[in-house]
Symmetry: C2
Subunit: 437 residues, 2 copies
């Protein structure tokens, strides 16, 4: 399937007519500057969905709901569910494909208003994050981390093969790709120190994850099945769960990660819909122990999505690819995680974001965090220009990329990038007993 917008037909374009991702954009200039509206992407352009809705070329078909695309966030559209998502996607494909509905293609004035070159658009957070939950569903990652901290024999916690382990994260600091991230300060304590001190994190890390975006809400007290959970998911984004390993090591017992993960989580600006990913479904791995019935999947619920991480220091001329892995390296799917999330009766809402957990492949070249790549800081990583890294230094830029490879086209996720700024200065009234820095 081709588009009449030529840039969408290049084999390396992430946004062919098969994709139809959803995002929020404003214009860099013009009378409408700063007004955020819902958009899709096609080739090297964004498409203004608010304008298409106004002139009746797309519609949710839900009469009493009113327009949903003239909004600074996708939440209203996402709340309407699978039938509406399909209806709008189908209408957009018809408008954008080579031999479809000619209403946009052959209307020069409308085209000019609706089709905007990407370089003239600013992308924003695609939806209002209701709550953010982060899971721990990568078996290689859990094994690596467990081996480092507890030894190979006790690497996986006893519950890991039975429960999609997760914890509640912080939604207020989920930011869109491109937002700079301050290195966090926090309580740090060396194993041999008598007392903790307060200062900048020294073991700042990434976690390569995918985020599942909940579209349809559930009711309090009403658990959903895995099949229902799958239908509730609107789509997926790339997600970098920035982590302060040294803050985490001191704070996380007994109630889990808190400030070590609270300072920032970056996501890509485009939500790639579940509908676009249907051709790429893959089953979760064979179970080592049988799952309880409420977690059993009625069909394949993972997706074959290639993932990469690039690192570039502030002085380097080229980035270095430090990891290549795939979404299928997870033991639990987002649908299983979501079903588990409701198992107690927990209500899920439109805009809830579920981080997959770090996606590490079986080899070092596919590990999804610097903690694993540098094996706890013991094996520095060499970058293209000769610099070495164990953890992230100020000025480093980290970029996640992802795509599903179809026959002659790819469903691209765009990128999820962030550059680290120095830690905020700690005023004299904030300074703790700091030993260094």
């Amino acid at each position: 399937m081709k588009s009449w917008i030529e840039s969408a037909n290049k084999p390396e374009s992430g946004f062919p007519v098969q994709n139809i991702p959803f995002g929020i954009a404003s214009l860099k200039a013009g009378p409408d500057e700063d007004v955020r509206r819902c958009v899709t992407a096609i080739g090297e352009c964004v498409v203004d969905l608010a304008k298409l809705e106004t002139c009746g070329l797309i519609s949710t078909g839900v009469d009493d709901f009113g327009p949903v695309f003239d909004k600074p966030e996708l939440n209203d559209f996402m709340s309407l569910g699978n039938v509406v998502w399909k209806r709008v996607r189908t209408a957009l494909i018809e408008l954008l494909k080579e031999d479809g509905n000619s209403a946009l293609r052959e209307n020069g004035e409308l085209r000019q208003q609706v089709i905007i070159p990407m370089e003239n658009a600013v992308m924003h957070l695609p939806f209002r994050i209701a709550e953010y939950t982060d899971f721990y569903a990568g078996r290689q990652h859990a094994t690596n981390v467990g081996t480092m901290f507890r030894g190979a024999e006790n690497a996986l916690p006893p519950n890991w093969l039975h429960i999609p382990i997760g914890y509640n994260g912080r939604a207020s600091t989920v930011v869109v790709s491109g937002t700079p991230v301050y290195r966090p300060n926090g309580q740090l304590k060396a194993p041999d120190a008598q007392m903790p001190h307060f200062g900048p994190c020294k073991r700042l890390d990434i976690e390569l994850e995918m985020g599942a975006v909940v579209g349809v809400s559930s009711n309090m007290g009403e658990p959903v099945t895995v099949a229902q959970a799958d239908e509730m998911i609107f789509g997926y984004v790339l997600l970098n769960d920035w982590s302060a390993r040294d803050i985490q090591a001191w704070e996380y017992q007994p109630l889990g990660p808190f400030q070590a993960k609270a300072f920032a989580t970056s996501i890509s600006p485009w939500i790639i819909t579940r509908l676009a990913l249907e051709p790429f479904r893959v089953s979760t791995p064979e179970r080592e122990k049988p799952l309880l019935d409420y977690l059993k999947e009625p069909g394949p619920m993972l997706y074959d999505i290639n993932l990469e991480v690039e690192m570039q220091s502030s002085t380097a001329s080229t980035p270095t690819t430090i990891s290549r892995t795939n979404y299928t390296n997870l033991y639990y799917s987002a649908a299983q995680q979501l079903a588990h999330h409701t198992s107690s009766g927990c209500k899920m809402n439109t805009g809830d974001l579920l981080g997959s957990g770090t996606i590490s492949g079986p080899e070092k070249s596919g590990f999804g965090s610097l903690l694993e790549i540098s094996w706890g800081g013991k094996e520095p990583l060499k970058l293209e220009d000769g610099e070495e890294r164990t953890f992230i230094e100020d000025g480093d830029k980290l970029t996640l990329r992802g795509w599903a490879q179809g026959e002659g086209y790819r469903i691209g996720f765009g990128e999820c990038a962030g550059t680290i700024l120095p830690a905020p200065d700690i005023g004299s009234n904030q300074k703790g007993h700091r030993h260094e820095n």
Copy 2:
């Protein structure tokens, strides 16, 4: 100070003119039925703040913000900060005290519209919960739980005297007092069982807590001091952090409580403002280890608030008071917790709710959870009518109460009550390998 509304002057009234709490109510009947609006309480009445604002008797004084009380939640008002909170509180005290502004007292028609007997009002969740964080700041509680699980010598985790330990909770299931709560289902595993099973929680518990309500937001990347944190807090509520101990035991390692706490958290309908609590300030206990500077308090930040828990089975004619304790039994104040929460640069928002952690007194008669009162289920508790309890049974009603005792008046928190309903039936497609029930 007395009110011209007589019921406010009874010494046992929780809502004298010194209190002026804030809540959200609708009417049980009448043309405005179902419309939620902001209210305060005086004696046995609620006072419609939307009407008082419309007729100009109270005002935020922030011209470009528009009305804030004609809303189904207090968030807009709370976001305006300390100066506005004081201005509105002062105006309300003037309108409601014996010898103050006569504009309401002497206008019979207005009085009839504005002053509503409590029995004609339905109370709702007072604010939209942005995010919910639960702390673990009660030393006796942490010691009790630690002793049960790790032995007396390792009761307190090594970080406990340095960090106000907390974890992110689930905001979507915070409900107002009176909302029934379903017993959760979940994964359970007896220590000697080979496999977990899925079924209703058998160790359902309360946690007696206070919730601090964040009024003013902070910026991402900008930590706040303890003094600034204190000023950001709009007020306090009673909070029952319902807990499924058996689900928690199996799920919580290594990333903390998740579904064991996600099914429900109840709060009282009235936010008691920090301004009303000023006369009751008390310092946190002496430090066993010096705190890092960013956690040091510039003055007393706890409050002398009496707390009680009542339990009543569905067949009992009278409730039994099962715990009597005080808010001063905490080691960290809400202001310290909030400052710590921002220490990494985490952004806090209007409507964030911070649970204090379980508030246990030094004696068994003041323990704040059934886990502690029944010492892990080993020492059943006798109720007034002869029934015994280790944990909560279906039909049991649990009620928290709180008040600060002034000279001749009390600042009441009202109550935070919830009755437990049987666990949702697990459909055949949801049933796991259940051994029992």
